[in-house]
């Protein structure tokens, strides 16, 4: 092994040079990085939220609402399917109870025919893992003439996944309208979205923007109802009481079914009404929405209609004249900020279902900087201590180990920069630990050499045998650490995952440097000095 093949020399040198090249951006100031020519890598290590500061939110789609929405839809489909059957199947009622949609047939004898007809509305959903699909709805007869539809687990999962995908789009438009910030929005599991916003972003603002469904709906105000009855708690069927959105509006009794929804919204912007000096939101409807709005406003001139946001009244003006241009404005006592926030939400569109924040973490940038400093100082001290210890313990061979260790450090930093894995606070601890673990491979090799020399071999043979025999142990020992790191990566979250990254990268590079780099150095040293005895 003292004859090191040329390709190995080239490999070691090439990797080391590449490592230095890719690690370099981390020590360059930003200005210098910007002025570098294009072919030189300029990516530095991606710092985790705990080091650079920022907020992370874990949101969960409201599966109960999702299921209810879908079941209401299924109930409608069932009714339609029964009407379309020939001869027509009559039903007495339909509705959603708990986790099922139900229709009650007038004539229980129709049940078999109804079941047959309903089969048409079942569609298949892809089940994960296994090939093929499974039905999304399962029908059953509860009693006599009542047919019940339940959603299968697969259907619910597909619904959640779909809702998550749509939510991600909406959230992105809401918190990153220009697409320039470094916010990461990702799916987590079937029904969760994780949002990570680095930097000094305000977590409260973030939550406000995500926390609202922001569904805009237009409802006719029900002013024919007997107000006394309503106050006594007897709301007419088909109507509902909508609470005020802010202090400037009042609660209204409105038709339950919206005449128009925010889906038809094409644009929304905040502006100041020059006459009143108040902030308003002006909106533009798409052509279909404009037609509906035109017909509605023509039909109901003189009546009032309410504009609701998430079922709360923003404003409820009277219709003075038909509005057919497709644009209008909402005035609810807005401030400059609240109007522009709301306009942003409306432009981004409504979330398909409400999202709840189930985990929130935010770290101030200042704390992050403190952590980086502490980590850097601890790292340098650990490095110096290790270097000093190795030189004191092993002399010349210790110097070789130190060079290998430094190359290892460069390679770890370079790999982290290239992969883009986030460096977290536990990650720094992982780096420091790999320093020590990297030395282990050297120690194993040197101890073997000592043994072999003690057994009476010549220095050259001892060196050869040292590398050869230690290799098995090094592989076994490091594979176990990699196993542990892989598990951490699979199960850990956030900062812990950062730790797993640095640990596994560190282990891999350390085997490379401790074995190949050291071997090269020792071979070179041996050729130059031709020692009679090993210096260890």
């Amino acid at each position: 092994m003292l004859q090191v093949a040329r390709w190995r020399v080239i490999l070691v040198i090439a990797i080391t040079v590449l490592g230095i090249l890719f690690a370099a951006p981390n020590v360059m100031p930003q200005q210098m990085r910007d002025s570098m020519p294009g072919f030189i890598p300029t990516r530095a290590i991606n710092l985790g939220l705990d080091l650079r500061g920022g907020s992370s939110l874990l949101l969960e789609v409201d599966t109960a609402t999702l299921r209810r929405q879908r079941l209401e839809n299924v109930a409608d489909q069932m009714a339609e399917s029964l009407r379309d059957a020939s001869p027509r199947i009559t039903y007495a009622g339909r509705g959603v109870v708990e986790n099922a949609a139900r229709v009650r047939l007038l004539n229980a004898a129709d049940a078999p025919r109804a079941m047959e007809s309903l089969r048409a509305i079942v569609s298949t959903v892809e089940s994960r893992g296994m090939g093929g699909g499974s039905p999304d709805i399962v029908f059953s007869q509860v009693e006599g003439g009542v047919i019940e539809a339940r959603l299968t687990d697969e259907a619910l999962q597909a619904l959640s996944r779909d809702a998550v995908a749509r939510s991600i789009e909406v959230i992105r438009r809401r918190i990153d309208p220009t697409g320039t910030s470094e916010v990461s929005i990702a799916r987590q599991g079937d029904d969760r979205v994780s949002v990570q916003a680095p930097g000094e972003s305000d977590p409260e603002l973030l939550k406000q923007r995500i926390g609202q469904t922001a569904l805009l709906t237009f409802h006719l105000v029900d002013d024919q109802a007997d107000m006394g009855e309503v106050q006594a708690g007897r709301v007419p069927p088909g109507s509902m009481i909508a609470p005020p959105y802010s202090e400037g509006s009042t609660s209204e009794l409105v038709r339950r079914r919206p005449s128009l929804t925010g889906d038809s919204l094409q644009n929304a912007s905040a502006r100041m009404n020059s006459q009143t000096g108040q902030y308003v939101i002006s909106f533009q409807l798409d052509s279909a929405g404009a037609r509906v709005f035109c017909r509605l406003s023509t039909e109901y001139v003189g009546r009032r209609f309410a504009i609701l946001l998430d079922d709360k009244v923003l404003t409820a003006p009277s219709i003075r004249e038909p509005i057919c241009g497709g644009s209008g404005q909402i005035d609810g006592s807005f401030t400059a900020q609240s109007s522009s926030e709301l306009a942003l939400l409306l432009r981004a569109g409504a979330l398909p279902v409400p999202l709840t924040v189930i985990e929130q973490r935010s770290v101030g940038a200042e704390l992050g900087q403190d952590a980086i400093n502490a980590g850097a100082v601890a790292g340098v001290i650990a490095l110096l201590a290790t270097l000093a210890f190795m030189i004191i313990a092993y002399g010349t061979f210790g110097v070789f180990a130190c060079i290998a260790l430094l190359v290892n450090g460069v390679l770890v930093i370079a790999s982290m920069s290239v992969i883009g894995a986030a460096l977290t606070l536990p990650g720094i601890a992982g780096l420091i630990l790999t320093l020590a673990m990297a030395v282990d491979a050297n120690v194993l090799i040197y101890e073997r050499m000592r043994d072999e020399e003690a057994a009476g071999r010549s220095p050259a043979l001892a060196i050869d045998a040292g590398f050869g025999r230690a290799m098995i142990t090094i592989m076994d020992a490091n594979l176990t650490t990699i196993l542990a790191a892989l598990i951490l990566f699979q199960f850990g979250a956030g900062p812990v995952r950062g730790f797993a990254w640095t640990l596994s990268i560190g282990v891999i590079t350390s085997v490379f440097t401790a074995v190949l780099v050291t071997q090269l150095l020792i071979a070179l040293w041996f050729r130059m000095t031709r020692p009679k005895r090993l210096p260890i």
């Binding site: 101030g364 313990a393 420091i432 699979q490």
Partner: protein, 342 residues
């Protein structure tokens, strides 16, 4: 003065490790039992029987209630809110407590974090109250209580998430240990695998026991530390086993206890040097890493010490225990006996 220092380390030591193994095995078993006792008694601070009786529900739920007190669980696993903040002057903790109580979020823990200009407020999730809203209410009160406060770290973990984090932590630990067993079984032999897994359990239980007794916070990063300890301890055990396997082939006639001693002695200087380097490196982190990393680093240093110990006194002797019969009845016996009798 000779240099390098390695020359002072004898090339061959002759400690009789196996001879003292019985003593250390007893000690280890006692420590493991003490750890379990600590888990049951909230770190020897409460009477486990009283805890059990006070808990509601069936026997399993009662046991769960006792177990939940075993550690000073961080919010990752317990759920709840943690608010870390700083001010340009020493923070009046009692004032913070008084204001935070007005938010009506149940029992609020207020303590300094690192030094007296940093403080941390913690409280558990209140059933029926929105966790985010509660966190905002407390933050608002802290703003009133402390002038020019700046929030450094706010974490709100809902009850659902904390349960999942805990389960995934437990699964990760279990899976790691099983995988190690399989790996060693595959690379060595079953007895070696069992021996190394005994050492792993030993290390993990003792580290958890210490965390339990000292009430050091147990969080997600603690799980990371435990897994790293598993990795390190395994690493250390593998080095000893590797030599043991080699020596078993080399010295077919030597009694197994002597082979074990020989193997441990041969790898001893490596064990000491690597362990020392790791601890040396981690000590700087212990002092400079701040209170956030303290539990992590502390667990890791203890784990490295105990992992080194266990490779020598738990893993290797358990191979003796498991393998003794086969060797004395098998490969050594006939030939050796023929020689001695003849």
């Amino acid at each position: 003065m000779k240099w390098p220092l390695i020359r002072y380390l004898p090339k061959k030591t002759n400690f009789r490790f196996v001879k003292s193994a019985k003593f250390f095995a007893t000690l280890s078993i006692l420590c493991v039992l003490a750890s379990f006792a600590s888990f049951a008694s909230a770190g020897f601070r409460e009477n486990p029987i009283a805890l059990y009786n006070a808990a509601a529900g069936g026997p399993l739920e009662k046991l769960g209630a006792v177990g939940s007190k075993a550690f000073n669980l961080g919010i990752d696993f317990q759920g709840g809110t943690l608010i870390e903040f700083t001010a340009p002057f020493a923070i009046d903790l009692s004032r913070v407590r008084e204001y935070a109580d007005r938010a009506d979020v149940g029992e609020v823990q207020v303590q300094n974090f690192g030094d007296d200009t940093h403080a941390v407020v913690r409280f558990e999730n209140q059933p029926g109250r929105d966790t985010n809203e509660a966190a905002e209410a407390v933050q608002a009160q802290i703003r009133l209580a402390v002038d020019s406060v700046s929030f450094q770290n706010v974490a709100v973990v809902g009850p659902k998430v904390s349960g999942e984090l805990f389960m995934s932590g437990v699964i990760a630990l279990g899976l790691a240990i099983v995988l190690m067993l399989v790996y060693i079984w595959f690379r060595f032999e079953l007895q070696f695998g069992i021996g190394s897994v005994m050492a792993l359990f030993h290390d993990v239980i003792l580290t958890m026991g210490l965390l339990s007794v000292l009430r050091i916070e147990f969080s997600l990063t603690t799980i990371a530390a435990l897994l790293t300890i598993v990795g390190y301890s395994m690493n250390d055990t593998v080095v000893v086993f590797d030599r043991l396997r080699e020596n078993l082939r080399k010295y077919k006639r030597m009694p197994i206890a002597e082979v074990i001693d020989l193997s441990i002695n041969e790898t001893l200087s490596r064990t000491i040097i690597t362990g020392l380097t790791a601890i040396l490196a981690l000590f700087s982190l212990l002092y400079l890493g701040g209170p956030t990393l303290f539990p992590f680093t502390f667990a890791m240093i203890f784990g490295i010490v105990i992992g080194t110990y266990s490779s020598i006194y738990v893993a290797a002797p358990s191979v003796l225990l498991l393998r003794d019969k086969r060797r004395s009845a098998g490969s050594v016996a006939p030939e050796a006996e023929a020689q001695t009798s003849g």
